[in-house]
Amino acid sequence: MMEREAEHMANTVIGSSIVIDGEISGEEDLVVQGTVKGKISLKESLFVEGSGIVEADIQTQNVEVAGKVTGNINASQKVELKSDCRVVGDIRAPRILIADGASFKGNVDMDAKGR
């Protein structure tokens, strides 16, 4: 956990008081502590931290959610829903982890052939 936080510092961080309404795209890790509405497409990982709120369709390699996500998640590798997260939307990824305590509503699709 600490390692990951150290990692976060080097990459893109949307701070807790930041609100983005629009589209984010890129080729590096993105840490969301604030609010993002619209669309996120990354070639790396998305981390939605405890304070983070994402109301967007997400297209990435990995997604890790500890905060709130409303929208469809499409990951090429892995989606991890941590405890205390709240996710509403469909998840599509070859690997999906839902931790004890996580709240989720939506469809799950792990069909690797579909992608």
């Binding site: 893109t12 701070g15 008081s17 930041i18 609100v19 983005i20 309404d21 589209e23 984010i24 590096e28």
Partner: protein, 194 residues
């Protein structure tokens, strides 16, 4: 100076847009924002925007402070200050009580510091003094002085005739070769009349 400390310090906790990230839309917040990537649309902050060398902002920006080392296309409005560092490039208008353009910075647009119209004028004239001084320097070479005394004598004596002559000559220059010596003088007179 202090901005570098602020930059690294600010980058640690606050928001950073990495170099490969593109944001298209509205971005607002109450904390410092460091942009190394690309932001298009609108940026509204109650704190400082640090646009680093690799950063590109094509947006209307409204912040408290802006330190620009990257590229801005759009208008920047700051409640405190806007600083364009030596790497900074900007096209657009700046409105802020304090505007700092460092040597090496590239800027095209209007600057409004609010209280004084002087600031606007200064911004507008940044590029002009050079041109203004260049123009007056051009005319002086015109008067070719050396054969003046003789030429004047010629001009005075033939003052009524020369305009016609000169016109004829200008239309058909090859005419006077017969009067080679006089021809040279007449050429001088023509120049002076123009």
């Amino acid at each position: 100076m202090a901005t570098n400390k602020e930059m690294t310090g600010g980058a640690a906790g606050a928001t950073v847009i990495g170099p490969t990230i593109t944001i298209n839309g509205k971005l607002s917040g109450d904390e410092d924002l460091t942009v190394r990537g690309r932001v298009e649309g609108e940026v509204t902050l109650t704190k400082t925007l640090f646009l680093e060398v690799s950063g590109v902002v094509k947006a209307n920006v409204s912040v408290k402070n802006a330190v620009i080392s990257g590229v801005v296309v759009g208008n920047v409005r700051a409640t405190e200050s806007v600083e364009l560092t030596k790497e900074g490039r900007m096209v657009g208008d700046i409105a802020a009580p304090r505007v700092i353009l460092v040597d090496g910075a590239s800027f095209r647009g209007r600057i409004e510091m609010g209280d004084a119209s002087v600031s606007r004028a200064a911004g507008d004239r940044v590029g002009r003094p050079a041109r203004v001084s260049a123009r007056p320097s051009a005319p002086p070479p015109r008067p070719p002085p050396p054969p003046r005394a003789e030429a004047r004598g010629m001009a005075n004596s033939k003052s009524t005739v020369t305009p016609i002559l000169s016109k004829m000559e200008s239309k058909s220059p090859p005419v006077p070769p017969a009067l080679a010596g006089a021809g040279k003088r007449k050429v001088v007179v023509r120049k002076r009349e123009r």
